[in-house]
């Protein structure tokens, strides 16, 4: 309510040299961001151009660029989607527990621990995935799923004995994006107007009904934008996937086998050290595709977050 008055005051504030210095400094910073972003985009386009349209003779393999990047885009989106499917319900539950169920002290500790997850370097997640998750799953879960659920296409094929599958990658990615989705969901849930909650309870709702009536609708777009941010991270994740996933060339729906479509970022990490000539340009061109993909996801997240009923997002 008091915003116009405050704005007027700010505009009328007396200016001095440090003032102007600061204002131009912050403006320069903003411009720098734009320059860096467009610089990256132009670098990717110019260097990647010959990778997209150059002579295939000079590159390894016989695929044209679309055939080359197609499976990679598929693998990228597939692994990120899997991660999202695993992480979102989990993050939703954790956030709800922290904001509405846990005793205050426990909630604080738990929130802190989840935030800590975000600080673990991805290469450590990768090593954890390959040494702990993969063997565990390949010994105990994958053979069972393969035997009993193979009528579902996702579980068909020959189960991997080393566990370096799309499902393992998706699970580790889920752990990596859990903190950001949880953190955002928790903040939104905490901001649910007290009056809404009390009104719901006063009408005789149980706690779960209150959460469904007041908290979830209020926080929905927050959860979604958190999930989109997580998706953005999962799309670009490199080291963990490069370590865990056993890549093949092509499109693979099954999530239990050694044949998996690689992701763009992991493919670059694998191929770049020994690449030369046009292969380098092609890898950079796939980087441009990833850049556009993440850009698209972010735009989508923004749109989703800004629409719908919520006082928290935007």
């Amino acid at each position: 309510m008091s915003q116009p008055v405050a704005q007027e005051k700010i505009n009328k504030a007396p200016t001095s040299v440090p003032d102007r210095l600061f204002s131009s400094l912050s403006r320069a910073s903003a411009v720098t961001i734009l320059l860096v972003l467009s610089g990256v985009a132009f670098f990717l386009t110019i260097v990647g151009w010959s990778g997209m349209f150059g002579d295939i003779e000079g590159m390894s393999g016989s695929d044209n660029f679309l055939e080359y990047v197609g499976p990679l885009v598929f693998g990228t989106v597939y692994s990120a989607t899997l991660a999202l499917l695993i992480a979102t319900p989990l993050a939703f539950a954790v956030a709800l527990f922290i904001s509405h169920y846990a005793p205050r002290r426990l909630a604080q500790t738990l929130g802190y621990v989840v935030d800590l997850l975000a600080a673990i370097p991805s290469v450590v997640f990768g090593i954890w995935g390959i040494t702990v998750v993969a063997p565990l799953m390949s010994k105990n879960v994958y053979p069972w799923a393969n035997d009993n659920l193979s009528f579902i296409p996702f579980f068909s094929g020959t189960a991997s004995t080393s566990g370096r599958t799309m499902l393992t990658a998706g699970m580790v990615l889920a752990m990596m994006i859990l903190p950001i989705i949880t953190a955002i969901s928790r903040e939104v849930f905490l901001q649910t107007p007290r009056l809404h909650e009390e009104a719901s309870l006063a009408l005789g709702a149980t706690k779960w009904e209150m959460i469904r009536q007041a908290v979830v609708p209020y926080g929905r777009s927050g959860v979604i934008s958190g999930a989109m941010l997580g998706l953005g991270r999962a799309l670009g994740e490199t080291m963990a996937v490069a370590i865990i996933l056993s890549p093949s060339d092509g499109y693979f729906w099954s999530i239990l086998t050694n044949q998996n479509s690689n992701t763009i970022a992991s493919n670059i990490a694998l191929k770049f050290p020994e690449a030369y000539g046009l292969d380098v340009n092609r890898l950079i061109a796939t980087g441009l595709v990833l850049f556009l993909l993440s850009f698209g996801v972010n735009m989508l997240a923004r749109r989703v977050a800004n629409s719908g009923f919520s006082g928290a997002a935007g």
Binding site: G61, D63, S138, T161, G163, S246, L270, P273, E274, A275
Partner: protein
């Protein structure tokens, strides 16, 4: 917005030109000043090279397969030639050849010899007009590790056709009659075979597929390929780098792979069918591979480009090995570089040098006969007249 971005691009372009300019003149800058020292005779201890007198820095780049071996050579060379240092950037074979041809290094390490057009290009960058020569200095045996606990302690024999069949996905179970035929009396488990290959491009893959292509051309129809996923049969499991392949084989029962023999750890390695019998991997057996291979030069008498013979006649040769070259100019602009290159290459080709890389990388020593041949090529390196 658009205009400012164009400016950024122009700036980037300008910067890269400046960098390129810096790169290309490092080699030739101080050449003329050194000419007077041209004809010192050098009658000395090892292959006509006086290690103690050489000084300076030799710059090489290339195959990452040589990285561990190069470490041994660098340390060994430092101890005989204390005034000289060797720098090596393991950027990959292709990148190494490119950098050498661009004048950015004194020698290249490469898992493949110079191609014909690259040799033509080398005449531009080397002094004189004899171009560059390939020296097969590094033999790294490739073992076939497998994970079959139920036959622990016994030897698994695999003929070339069976190996090719496994990696081409035509043999898919360990009970396959073709495997049983190679291993009478061995109780192989009823287990799916999981062939593990390199997920990145690799000289190891190229040499291994070259072996299959030569020894079992009917089964392995893909030829020698560097990138498994792009050009190979598909299927199997992909592991990043050597460590990834070894880890994948170790992790999954029924798995089989191919990897640098010094890196397979405790995994057992298959004996490979050669000339009617089966040869277990050993450095000596792998070292003989260059002896039975033919030089395919035609460029000049000093070039040591070889067509590795994967089907040797004698059963004492292990046919799966990566042969990696050092690529050097036959003529350089100045005496200092010539001395350095000669000294280092002589050292690498000597018994001491080969022992150094065997110790640091588990490579196979090249045989004395081949050493003597290579020494002739190294002796021919000189200042352009």
């Amino acid at each position: 917005m658009k205009r400012s971005s164009q400016r950024v691009v122009a700036l980037l372009a300008a910067a890269s030109f400046a960098l390129a300019a810096c790169g290309s003149d490092t080699d030739t800058a101080d050449a003329p000043a050194e000419e007077p020292a041209a004809e010192e005779p050098a009658a000395e201890d090892d292959g006509g090279v006086d290690y103690a007198s050489v000084s300076g820095t030799l710059i090489g780049a290339g195959a990452s397969s040589q990285k561990a071996g190069m470490l041994g050579w660098q340390v060994g060379f430092q101890s005989v030639a204390p005034n000289a240092t060797v720098e090596y950037d393991p950027i990959g074979s292709g990148g190494g050849r490119k950098q050498f041809l661009g004048g950015g290094s004194d020698f290249a390490g490469s898992d493949a010899a110079l191609k014909d057009e690259e040799w033509e290009a080398s005449k531009e960058v080397c002094a004189g007009d004899l171009g560059a020569i390939n020296l097969p200095h590094y033999i790294s045996p490739i073992a076939i590790p497998y994970n079959l606990p139920s036959i622990a302690g016994e030897t698994l024999n695999l003929s070339a056709e069976v190996i090719a069949g496994i990696f081409a996905n035509t043999i898919t179970n360990w009970t396959d009659p073709a495997i049983a035929a190679d291993n009478p009396g061995l109780d192989l488990p009823d287990l799916a075979i999981n062939p593990v290959h390199r997920a990145d491009e690799s000289g190891t893959t190229e040499n291994f597929t070259d072996y299959m292509g030569q020894a079992a051309p009917d089964v392995w129809t893909y030829g020698a390929i560097e990138a498994w996923d792009a050009d190979g049969p598909g299927g199997g499991e992909g592991g990043p780098q050597t460590a990834g392949v070894v880890a994948a084989v170790a992790a999954g029962e029924g798995s089989i792979g191919y990897a640098d023999a010094s890196q397979i750890g405790d995994l057992p390695a298959a004996a490979v069918g050669v000339a009617g019998s089966f040869v277990e991997f050993s450095p000596e057996a792998a070292g003989r591979i260059v002896d039975s291979s033919e030089r395919t030069g035609g460029r000049n008498e000093y070039d040591f480009k070889i067509e590795v013979n994967r089907t040797p006649d004698s059963a004492d040769t292990y046919p799966i090995a990566l042969v990696s070259y050092h690529i050097v100019c036959l003529e350089y602009e100045d005496q200092d570089t010539v001395d350095l290159v000669k000294a280092f290459m002589t050292f690498v080709g000597s018994d001491v040098g080969q022992a150094a890389s065997a110790a640091s990388a588990g490579s196979a020593p090249i045989s004395p006969e081949v050493q003597a041949e290579i020494a002739k090529s190294i002796a021919a390196i000189s200042v352009a007249s």
